[in-house]
Symmetry: C2
Amino acid sequence: MTEATPNVDMEKLVSLCRRRGFVFPSSEIYGGLSSSWDYGPLGVELKRNIKEAWWRAVIRERDDMVGLDTSILMNRKVWEASGHLERMVDPLVECKNCHQRWRADELGEPKCPSCGGDLTEERMFNVMFKTFAGPVEEEASVVYLRPETAQGIFVNFQNVLNTTRKRLPFGIAQIGKSFRNEITTGNFIFRSREFEQMEIEYFIKPGTDEEWFEYWLKERLQWYVTHGIKREHLDTYEHPEEKLAHYAKRCCDVIYKFPMGWAELEGIANRGDYDLKQHTAVSGKSLEYYDAATNEHFIPYVIEPSAGVDRSALAFLADAYTEEPDKDELRVLLRFHPDIAPLKVAVLPLSRKENLAAYARDVYADLRREWRVEFDDTQSIGRRYRRQDEIGTPFCVTVDFQSLEDNRVTIRERDTMNQIRVPISELKTTLSAKLGGEDLFVLPPGGEIWKVEKEADSA
Amino acid sequence: MTEATPNVDMEKLVSLCRRRGFVFPSSEIYGGLSSSWDYGPLGVELKRNIKEAWWRAVIRERDDMVGLDTSILMNRKVWEASGHLERMVDPLVECKNCHQRWRADELGEPKCPSCGGDLTEERMFNVMFKTFAGPVEEEASVVYLRPETAQGIFVNFQNVLNTTRKRLPFGIAQIGKSFRNEITTGNFIFRSREFEQMEIEYFIKPGTDEEWFEYWLKERLQWYVTHGIKREHLDTYEHPEEKLAHYAKRCCDVIYKFPMGWAELEGIANRGDYDLKQHTAVSGKSLEYYDAATNEHFIPYVIEPSAGVDRSALAFLADAYTEEPDKDELRVLLRFHPDIAPLKVAVLPLSRKENLAAYARDVYADLRREWRVEFDDTQSIGRRYRRQDEIGTPFCVTVDFQSLEDNRVTIRERDTMNQIRVPISELKTTLSAKLGGEDLFVLPPGGEIWKVEKEADSA
């Protein structure tokens, strides 16, 4: 067994994503829109699976969490109170010669990195997208596209308390689009102006924040490992105190070894009571919590694990990418965790002959009631296995002429290429168990080991 | 059995939604933002279920559909080509006296409906939200928030063809936020400036469009019925030819009897080849389809079933709302279809006594691995049943002292209030079957009918 190549460069990944329908440049026929991306038929399923796995882990399987879905356009007082209007600014400079624009704090020396020209004085630039609600473009109708989903949670804190009877510690989580008018974007879907967040605001008693911070850091790091990211490609990065965002008491990132280097995958922040206090002050509405046990009123602290759907997708793609020498060829496969894989199963009839095709179609129709399944009857079986490997489908079900006689089909595993043969009546249960992580060679009644790849001599 | 009240007025529904955490006014602590809404802990689950049911029906269980997830910010040439820049305009007038603004085409007479004042001349107002990508507010950097998800599909038509090998007829579907700067909004979540769409673009051979139009109209209407909307609350409305949108050859709405009256739930449009033709002309990139069987190149026609997530949510809420006289009280319940219900099961221990609570917690922990489940041990059992009725939970599982001895629990059905008692080992399978639509009185091994409500004499 040859060791798989551990890494992938960005170019290769972007090319696969585009070729197989994971990610396309947005508005491509019009020359695109800077750092804007569309998710194709496989990409949308990948993203859905990531979001679903997150929702299940942080909400459905927990006792202390509820979800929320707040709007992108909010009253702009929200951003006055949160400090984003004043402080979410980047220092901008422009080259006097070629007119390219740069973030002053990212430049090594005061010369244009592109042409060496002189730069203008820096001016502060707010990264919130501004628009107007209502028909007149006037100051009074300015609204912003939210730069984070978090504030939608804070301003609803009291609403959630009133309607759910949750007691501390408890969390509110939401998934949604946010927008930042970044001067510098790039690295494929890693940083774009429009992105999707998965944010948790976990409310706790002041004084318990350090312990909950550690809890969530560990919990969130583990989530990536559970869903297939290699532990050695993950690390943590503690933000130095002088570089913390205006709302943060502490911030530690879960970082991932992306194709372009180590970078933030998720940020865990201790926001203290900053946000609830600010909203209380500016709105005049109390966002206090009453603890009946101790008869205390106080503003809770909050720990915020904030993840990006797009950069999670990039991490899952990069980490799954594998090249293996296979006979005279190179086998490319995406070793996705079954929960993350866009397709769970492919049904492949060995031939297009009428009776075989009909049998395979029945198998397909039955399986897709449970999972996202593909049917493929083109080209040689070897080529079709490679197609499924390259998009990360964990299992192929092959229907051959013998199936018509013995009502048995072959299950082929993506990672090992090993195969077992099972009665059709056991197929669904077996696939269900394998997708849940059971070893391929645990056989159902009537099942048998069919082909062990390392002993096989042809593809 | 008393006949359920068939309808609900908007005020009652808004009040329930707010009280129980379905929908809150957005940015409420700051006085809100006109017609902007946030979905609370139950609302977000309701919306997720609607989207999931749609995705399953239109993509996963079909052979001829793929998904897509395109960005909200697109190159503005998209909107030049689609005609939205020029034609997505409303006639705006302003009252010279009180300065309120109105849509001229919605006014009966040329006087302000609010104060009777004189109105200004009408001017055309584009309903697309405008913003700037990049740090300078200049004409060249103008981008729009998409007013429909459809165009993201059309501009990716060739990308999808190339990566999926789909052949006509086939469809592309997506769910996502769209934005329209409406002058007139209102009717709760029925019409807001920010809303979520579920759109299908179904590509077909020209000449087969009428037949596919009828197919999708029937299919989509049936989807609502399958998921619990009463057939008699649904109808269709054919748009008169002179009122069709600029891209449409025909348009027929699925309309629903909302609390405020009959209104559009979903629009089915025959967009012909308008969009693909326009994008071909403006981008210079061919969006033709090659039919290998007939050796023809042509631009496909498209049928578009376009649904709103928010107004679907409103329809599901309104249709589920029921009031029933029950003893001396009024029982309020939401008769959601199990697939749509935010919570599937509630686990209710009869008392908080230690051993009973622990047993019930175990049942709860086990069930929530499968479904969204709530645990509730407050107040009397009767009050807890009413709580679950009011949020539409299809089944309650009651754990009593006898459960500790005989390992059996009670399943109580929301709509009939009937109860069966089943061995704990059969609970998951039984609930799964009931949530799938099986009659409550089909009993698992060892199960028995426990309480038939119409024969019972106390709550």
